[in-house]
């Protein structure tokens, strides 16, 4: 009985089942797919983001090439996308899956999906990977980590 009550109670983390009102769930449920759809359409029709860090410093940031990688993925070229930004595959895809899971939990509380619990080392590992990637891709010896490299695109070489 107590457990059943605790399911209905808001968890206090802002994303628990039953904590959001129906209009909020409706807004997120419809707004998020529409936003993703418009974003993909914008990317496919020549849209893109400029990297402020690249413009200011001339160095690559860890996100450089992710826009091109996303376009390549949308056009069905995963290897080309990996060549632009390998970190997008390593961290971006698992995070995308987790984000989709959170979306389903929020919009459909009736599904009773469990809350994903990331271990303590996950955040630290991600941070170390991002910082290492940022450093290495700007070094001369690790140019294959920079965008536009043809390591994963044999047809272009």
């Amino acid at each position: 009985m107590e457990r059943a009550e605790s399911k209905e109670r808001p968890t206090g983390d802002g994303s628990g089942n039953g904590s959001a009102s129906r209009p909020a769930r409706l807004a997120v449920g419809l707004g998020a797919p529409l936003f993703v759809f418009l974003g993909c359409r914008w990317l496919l029709h020549g849209g893109g983001l400029c990297c402020l860090f690249r413009e200011l410093t001339g160095l690559y940031c860890p996100g450089c090439g992710s826009g091109r990688a996303a376009i390549a993925l949308l056009r069905g070229h995963p290897l080309e996308a990996m060549g632009y930004n390998p970190l997008l595959f390593l961290l971006g895809l698992p995070c995308g899956v987790l984000l989709l899971w959170e979306y389903l939990r929020f919009v459909f509380p009736g599904l009773a999906l469990k809350k994903p619990v990331l271990p303590a080392w996950a955040g630290r590992t991600a941070l170390v990977l991002i910082l290492s990637f940022w450093l290495l891709r700007n070094l001369p010896g690790f140019a294959f980590l920079a965008p536009n490299h043809e390591l994963f695109i044999p047809s272009m070489s």
């Binding site: 802002g14 914008w42 995070c95 987790l98 959170e102 994903p116 630290r124």
Partner: protein, 255 residues
């Protein structure tokens, strides 16, 4: 009538030897030793004798002290209900009520009066020191708001007190975890969502994403509720800024 222990011939009182067989009748008795004398005489008794092996005791549930300062309605307590103990393990709930204690124990009152009448010289020198000593944890049962609930719920000890301001400085740092007011606990952003969001944001806005990620990791690490709240909100601001910087141009182009 006594008989000779050797031949069985009846003998008279005071006879020292048997008239039939000549056996000596009044042999000295074997001395009766006390425990200490026997131990002195027999060295084997002085060896340590191993006692009986202790029985395999039943597992006693671990007692944990939870400074449940916000009452029993906290989210953490409600989310994880303690398992019901077995019928055999159930112990009666112990509640110390200060008023009843004071009334029932006349001797304790007399002792208290004696203490008041003849105070400690150290206390007499520093009257405030006595007040501080009265605030120690072992005398908290005297406070009218203090309650002690025995290990009735899964062996957990719950100590609750409404006036806990003087205890906050005495407790170690880890016990301050549940000191965040419930209003703040409700507004604390989701750590997992923040972590995912910050990792994704590094693909678009590296600086904001990394700052948000560092703050979220710090918030996950810290045990202080108030600090966690501050860090997560700060990370949220960074993430919102980073997202807005890249979403706004997209929206402007779109419309």
């Amino acid at each position: 009538m006594k008989t000779c222990p050797n031949c069985g011939t009846p003998i008279e009182e005071g006879q020292r030897f048997c008239g039939e067989c000549g056996a000596q009748l009044n042999l000295p008795r074997e001395p009766v030793y006390t425990g200490d004398e026997r131990r002195k005489k027999d060295p084997a008794l002085n060896k340590a004798v191993p006692g009986p092996k202790p029985r395999k005791e039943e597992k006693v549930p671990e007692l944990t002290l939870e400074p449940d300062l916000w009452g029993s309605g906290s989210a953490a307590t409600a989310a994880a209900p303690a398992p019901e103990p077995k019928q055999a393990d159930k112990m009666p709930e112990l509640t110390l009520e200060p008023d009843s204690l004071k009334k029932s124990s006349a001797a304790a009152a007399a002792n208290a009066a004696a203490e008041t009448a003849a105070p400690d010289p150290a206390q007499a020198a520093a009257p405030n020191a006595g007040e501080v000593a009265n605030k120690t944890e072992d005398r908290d049962y005297e406070r009218p708001d203090a309650e002690y609930h025995g290990p009735a719920r899964g062996g957990q000890v719950h100590y609750s007190s409404q006036q806990s301001t003087d205890r906050q400085t005495e407790l170690p740092h880890d016990y301050t975890m549940s000191r965040t007011p419930p209003e703040q606990q409700k507004k604390t952003p989701d750590e997992t969502l923040m972590l995912i969001w910050s990792i994704i944001l590094t693909s678009f806005c590296s600086v904001c994403g990394i700052v948000g990620l560092v703050k979220t990791i710090k918030a996950r690490k810290t045990m202080d509720g108030a600090m966690k709240y501050r860090l997560l909100n700060s990370a949220k601001i960074w993430l919102i800024i980073g997202t807005a910087l890249h979403v706004l141009p997209f929206l402007m182009e779109l419309f």
